[in-house]
């Protein structure tokens, strides 16, 4: 291993401390305003980054986050690892068992919730590419496909939080929305990875067709054979290694291996991490307690680092295009509300429940931002589109809860009741 300069170590540690503290401070403010923590974390990044601190006190910004230094490179690497871990957690959240139990209704709902936003997100950028900041590096079709995918993705944790807050999580409509969002995420990330494969970035000169075939093969094999093999290994780990150390080390190592494989074949590392997350999370031997630990570890340490880093890399003021942002927000709302609403209506819900589900699934959260950042890094979009996508993710996440409650005629406040039950042995 190479030597890391003493000054860079100090600088990196200060950077991490400032980022985590700022993220927590603003997440707490967001929490008190009954908003998702990710909103506060991104605002923290915007304040620390070139948009605010860089404009008011450029010297401070340059001192804290200097460009081209060893600490900057390491920080970028850590953020990259954070993104991979976030997608791993995203995969863990997908419960194929619950999806399968919901049956055809969930598939119909998710297809509507995927196809309509995807179509709207594809059509407008396809016919008006330059309005949408088409970067001209690739074909208009690929750009429009990317925008379609950006409109189709959902943020499962935000939806779950809203459903829990409204006591609807375990209801028929709640489970339908959750399982549909899970299907949308799997298909959405698969489409996105295929788009990355089509642009042929990386892949060590691998032909595009090979990348696409390898992507599909990786997905198919991991979700069937790979899932089975993992399911056979986990009981052995649980029995013979220290818990949760053994299972956590194994699952995260597998996550990084999957991520490195998909990065190697020319699609982004996030896809491999996501698929490995689905496989590991689906095992009956990966306990809910272990899932909780992974979630807490990643969501409270690595997720804030990623969220703050968004504001550090882009100037939200100079890259803000109000019309572009407005149009993207409109497409996002219409696509998801109409698509998911129709799908839920067909699933047997009332129109109020359907609208509530549409607004709930409209929440994009961190997933949208990850998609945006990968697209930006690969030159698929420019910084203006990225800023618009981030703002859209914030607006949709902030409005999802209140709008869902409005259509379900629920009071706009959390509902948690202190209780003292007697849990079963070895149970939650």
């Amino acid at each position: 291993m190479g030597k890391f300069p003493h000054d860079a170590v100090v600088q990196l540690l200060v950077q991490l401390a400032v980022m985590l503290l700022a993220a927590r401070l603003f997440a707490e403010i967001a929490r008190r305003l009954k908003q998702p923590g990710v909103v506060g974390e991104i605002v923290a990044g915007i304040l620390l980054g070139p948009t605010v601190m860089g404009m008011i006190e450029p010297g401070w910004f340059e001192a804290l986050f200097p460009t081209g230094t060893a600490s900057g490179v390491v920080l970028t690497g850590m953020v990259q690892v954070a993104v991979v871990m976030l997608l791993f957690v995203g995969g863990l959240e997908v419960d194929l068992h619950v999806v399968w139990q919901q049956g055809k209704t969930a598939i119909v709902t998710s297809l509507f919730g995927l196809v309509i936003p995807f179509s709207l997100g594809f059509i407008f950028p396809y016919y008006f590419p330059h309005f949408f900041g088409f970067a001209d590096n690739y074909t208009v079709t690929i750009f429009a496909l990317l925008m379609g995918t950006a409109m189709a993705i959902t943020a499962l944790p935000v939806i779950v939080r809203i459903l829990m807050d409204t006591n609807l999580f375990k209801s028929k409509i709640g489970l339908l929305v959750v399982s549909s969002a899970m299907i949308d995420d799997v298909i959405g990330w698969l489409i996105f990875s295929l788009i990355l494969g089509m642009i042929g970035k990386g892949g060590h000169g691998m032909p595009i067709i090979s990348t696409v075939i390898l992507t599909l093969a990786f997905t198919g094999i991991m979700l069937t054979v790979g899932r089975g093999v993992i399911n056979k290994i986990l009981p052995w780990l649980n029995k013979n290694l220290a818990w949760p150390g053994g299972i956590l080390a194994f699952s995260l190592a597998l996550c990084f291996l999957g991520a490195s494989f998909t990065e190697f074949i020319g699609i982004h590392a996030v896809f491999g991490a996501f698929i490995i997350g689905v496989c590991v999370g689906d095992s009956e031997h990966f306990s809910e307690r272990a899932k909780e630990i992974v979630h807490q570890f990643i969501n409270n340490i690595f997720a804030p680092l990623f969220s703050v880093s968004i504001g550090l890399r882009v100037n939200f003021f100079t890259n803000f295009d109000p019309w572009l942002t407005l149009v993207i927000i409109l497409i996002a709302f219409v696509g998801k509300v109409v698509g998911c609403g129709l799908g839920t209506l067909l699933g047997g819900a009332t129109w109020r429940e359907a609208l509530a589900s549409g607004f709930g699934m409209n929440a994009r959260g961190a997933m949208e931002i990850i998609l945006g950042i990968v697209a930006l890094e690969n030159g698929l979009i420019n910084e203006k589109v990225f800023v618009s996508l981030v703002i859209m993710a914030l607006v949709t996440s902030m409005t999802a809860g209140p709008l869902m409650k409005k259509f379900l005629s629920l009071p706009n406040s959390p509902t948690s009741t202190p209780v003292s039950p007697t849990p079963a042995r070895g149970q939650p």
């Binding site: 997440a27 929490r31 998702p36 923590g37 957690v89 863990l92 959240e93 419960d95 194929l96 068992h97 619950v98 399968w100 139990q101 049956g103 499962l156 944790p157 779950v160 939080r161 829990m164 999580f169 375990k170 489970l175 959750v178 069937t224 689906d282 009956e284 306990s287 809910e288 307690r289 272990a290 899932k291 909780e292 979630h295 807490q296 969501n299 409270n300 948690s416 009741t417 202190p418 209780v419 003292s420 039950p421 007697t422 849990p423 079963a424 149970q427 939650p428």
Partner: protein, 279 residues
């Protein structure tokens, strides 16, 4: 009636059930009706003296699964009693043995016994799933009926806390106290759901123990039955028939079938029933 080493014990179990529920017994044999088989069947019939004229034999040939299911349908059977291995190998699991195929496809309740006994062994620990099934109330009621009152039987009613890990992950914007409240609330909600259901089900003389589990409910239910050394696990029949895909992406019942922790009773009101049922 396959005349396997456990056939006699299976018959003894069936006779006990027929006495308990005052039912008729149909013995189904699939295969050639040779003199030797008839002789063995007569020997079996002789063991059913206690049921007098309430026992009859159905002779069938062809695919055992189809013959058994057709016989149940034609004779309006309420409960099918079969024997099965505790665990199947990988090929059997995906292809399906006769017992498990019958269990997956039957239109009536099915009792699958893994360790039949000639001697009467009371059910001291019965585990019943309170999972959302169209027949969950039937399942719990039936389980109460199986619990012998004079043996201080325990009926463990098990309910899953669905998506527990995801729920707790979504609760990360709470203080420590609120976080604990969310955790306890998830458990309490499920316990209250079960208690509410039990208020409408007669269970005098049966000791009830409500438990919550998290994870894949079928897998956890099976594990719980194993830990409790239960003699009987009762579940409501799923709303649809299972296919191979249910073994690739297992349904709750498939986790149980993969390694039966004890005898399994899958409860559903018989689709074959006429006004007067048969046993």
């Amino acid at each position: 009636m396959a005349f396997s080493p456990t056939s006699e014990a299976m018959l003894a179990e069936t006779i006990r059930l027929a006495k308990l529920f005052n039912s008729e017994v149909l013995l189904i044999h699939v295969g050639a009706r040779t003199a030797e088989v008839e002789q063995r069947m007569n020997a079996m019939m002789a063991k059913c003296e206690a049921l007098r004229d309430r026992v009859s034999v159905i002779w069938g040939s062809g695919d055992p699964v189809n013959v058994i299911l057709d016989s149940c349908k034609k004779n309006h059977v309420d409960l099918l009693v079969t024997g099965a291995l505790k665990k199947e190998n990988l090929v059997q699991y995906y292809v399906g043995s006769i017992a498990r195929k019958v269990l997956r496809k039957a239109g009536c309740s099915v009792l699958t016994i893994i360790n039949p006994s000639i001697e009467s062994v009371p059910y001291k620990n019965i585990v019943v799933s309170a999972e959302a099934s169209p027949h969950v109330v039937d399942a719990i009621s039936t389980a109460c009926g199986f619990a012998p009152k004079d043996y201080s039987a325990w009926l463990h009613v098990v309910k899953e806390v669905k998506l527990y890990g995801l729920s707790m992950a979504a609760a990360d914007q709470h203080t420590e106290e609120e976080y604990d409240d969310v955790r306890q609330g998830l458990v309490k909600q499920e316990i209250e759901n079960v208690n509410e259901m039990m208020r409408h089900i007669p269970h005098e003389g049966v000791r009830i123990n409500v438990k919550t589990v998290s994870g894949k409910s079928g897998f956890e239910l099976s594990g719980f039955a194993h830990r409790k050394n239960a003699e009987l696990l009762v579940i409501g029949a799923p709303p649809r028939r299972f296919s191979l895909i249910d073994r690739l992406f297992p349904h709750d019942m498939e986790y149980i079938l993969a390694d039966l922790p004890c005898s399994l009773l899958v409860v559903q009101p018989s689709k074959y029933r006429k006004e007067v049922g048969h046993g």
